[in-house]
């Protein structure tokens, strides 16, 4: 090295990336300390989408909270619905009938496929693989159509109720799902061939955004981020809920903890989720989808319009809310991005006293600086893409 090159002045440059950056899907700000293009430090600012989820829930009845949960992780709102309903049912001590539990498993897995497709498709298209991105969005669209056919909405579904689901599956549901999964498999196959051994994609993804296993555990990461480092922690396996213990599925794990492993984890999980959906549809029992308990279930419309008791019953549930006994509980489900927990405190009565969500994205953003430190500024894009930060859940 020449002498004059050695003492070239190197200033640390501060750069603010975000809050509205075209390549980061989500409102978030990174305050970067750069040396050339190398990231020395990254301070993550979240909260741009904070709307007071906890405080709003304290004003709402137990049933009115369900639409709020849709808006947490809107890429997998069905899982949020299921998690919240299960937490309240745990507090009540109620168990839903088998058919309802199977339906909840099916919709959770469909939502998980939706979530992973969103994450992988967006991350691929941000790296220039628009074709693969569009294939995944097409697959996602097919899943959305099933969800729309089932719930009447595409994103904010509000399908699950405390003590059941809004209504039973439509008659052609199993057929629709079987056809859709066939197409999704074909599309994923194409994506796999387009991406998994693609030189450009590999160069941008592998050995980028690495986090070690110890650090991942220390940062409380969960979901694909943690599994990519080799830790086999999946709430569906470790703390089985619903009827997950009756299905045959694997938890894909990575080894290096980089973006490529995260991507592969998510792709494999889509396959496992499809497997679960098919098993659940094959075993789907017949029977009611609501618990048999008039304290939590709205009466049928004929009774509401035809008898004074029914009308009063309906009025009480709507106006006062269902009555949940005093107590506190924590219930976690495996969301698209990791452990999605609901901590609920009830003082008795129709409204929650305290509602808290353990947001996997928010916790992942707490470790983000660790994932990008030492890499180039362009590496933020794939790393952030594979974290799959959803503002609604991160900022609540």
């Amino acid at each position: 090295m020449r002498a004059e090159d050695q003492d070239l002045p190197v200033d640390i440059m501060e750069l603010q990336m975000g809050p509205s950056h075209p390549a980061t899907h989500g409102t978030i700000k990174f305050n970067l300390q750069l040396e050339g293009e190398k990231i020395l430090d990254c301070d993550v600012e979240v909260g741009f989408l904070h709307r007071g989820f906890d405080k709003s829930c304290e004003q709402a009845t137990w049933t009115q909270v369900i639409p709020y949960t849709d808006r947490l992780n809107y890429a997998s709102s069905l899982i949020n619905n299921v998690g919240y309903a299960l937490a309240v049912e745990k507090l009540i001590g109620a168990e839903t009938p088998p058919r309802c539990q199977y339906i909840r498993v099916i919709i959770s897995e469909l939502a998980r496929i939706f979530d992973h497709l969103t994450c992988c498709g967006m991350a691929a298209s941000e790296l220039g693989a628009i074709t693969a991105g569009f294939y995944m969005i097409e697959a996602r669209e097919l899943i959305t159509r099933i969800i729309e056919n089932l719930t009447g909405a595409r994103l904010t579904v509000t399908y699950v109720r405390i003590g059941g689901v809004k209504h039973d599956l439509p008659p052609d549901f199993a057929e629709c799902v079987a056809q859709t999964l066939k197409t999704v498999r074909r599309l994923l196959d194409d994506c796999d061939r387009l991406l998994s051994r693609n030189r450009i994609f590999l160069d941008r993804m592998s050995n980028v955004g690495v986090i070690s296993q110890e650090k991942a555990l220390s940062y409380c990461l969960s979901g694909p981020l943690l599994r990519a480092t080799g830790v086999e922690y999946d709430v569906r396996k470790t703390f089985p809920y619903l009827v997950y213990d009756q299905f045959d599925f694997e938890v894909p794990v990575g080894s290096r903890g980089d973006n490529y492993d995260r991507f592969l984890c998510r792709l494999r999980e889509i396959e496992q989720s499809m497997k679960i959906v098919e098993q659940a549809l094959a075993k789907l029992p017949v029977g009611p989808v609501w618990i048999d308990d008039p304290r939590f279930v709205l009466p049928e419309k004929e009774k509401v319009y035809g008898s004074i008791e029914g009308l009063m019953h309906h009025f009480k549930i709507i106006m006062e809310g269902i009555q949940v006994p005093a107590g506190e509980t924590y219930f976690a489900v495996e969301g698209g991005n990791g452990e999605l927990g609901f901590y609920i405190v009830s003082e008795g009565g129709g409204r929650p006293y305290r509602m808290r969500v353990r947001p996997p994205c928010f916790i992942a953003m707490g470790a983000f600086h660790e994932m990008v430190k030492g890499y180039m500024i362009a590496d933020i894009i794939p790393t952030f893409g594979m974290v799959n930060m959803i503002g609604g859940e991160c900022d609540r």
Binding site: D54, Y233, G327, R356, G366
Partner: protein
């Protein structure tokens, strides 16, 4: 369950007087701890092979305003992946000195979670490396998740912050001036 009662007495032995109460309620194991020496208590829970609660799941708080004394409770959800067990640790915190020890030396993920509790409840975490507001902005007055904070309270609009040492493009500044002149806008 006999298993958990053996574990309960083990925790009681190890932590001694720091344990206020330990019980199973509504399907969850709940441990209520004194806030004195909190980090050491968590170190025992984390490192003792018989307990092995090595994963911090969540930190939050609850405000029992006019319902309970002491007013606040910081709530930790920890779990053992190997033993497939969860434990909820509740730490009562009085209103006149809302502070507990930070767990960031044990779990680095506690950083963001504790910042959130500080932001929304105003409970300080001693020895926290970077206790700033996180979801709200620095100029925000009060702590919104406290029960005595009204739901519909409006905060005044914050004037634009002056940031020192930022790069100003003079050409675009002049362009803006010209534009204002043509539109007849005075500063």
């Amino acid at each position: 369950m006999p298993e958990s009662s053996a574990q309960f007495s083990f925790i009681q032995d190890k932590l001694g007087a720091k344990v206020v109460d330990i019980r199973s309620a509504q399907g969850d194991d709940v441990l209520i701890l004194n806030r004195a020496g909190l980090r050491d208590s968590f170190l025992v829970l984390k490192q003792e092979a018989q307990l092995d609660f090595d994963f911090l799941s969540d930190i939050t708080a609850v405000d029992y305003w006019q319902k309970k004394e002491p007013r606040f409770e910081v709530v930790y959800q920890i779990l053992s992946r190997k033993k497939r067990q969860r434990l909820r640790v509740r730490v009562p915190v009085p209103e006149n000195d809302p502070a507990v020890e930070s767990l960031t030396p044990l779990w680095r993920g506690a950083n963001f979670l504790e910042r959130e509790v500080w932001d929304l409840y105003g409970i300080r975490f001693t020895d926290h490396p970077d206790l700033r507001r996180i979801l709200l902005y620095d100029e925000f007055q009060g702590f919104p998740l406290r029960k005595d904070y009204p739901v519909n309270l409006c905060q005044p609009r914050v004037p634009e912050r002056k940031i020192e040492g930022t790069f100003v493009d003079e050409r675009s500044a002049n362009k803006l001036l010209r534009l204002k002149k043509t539109l007849g806008i005075k500063n």
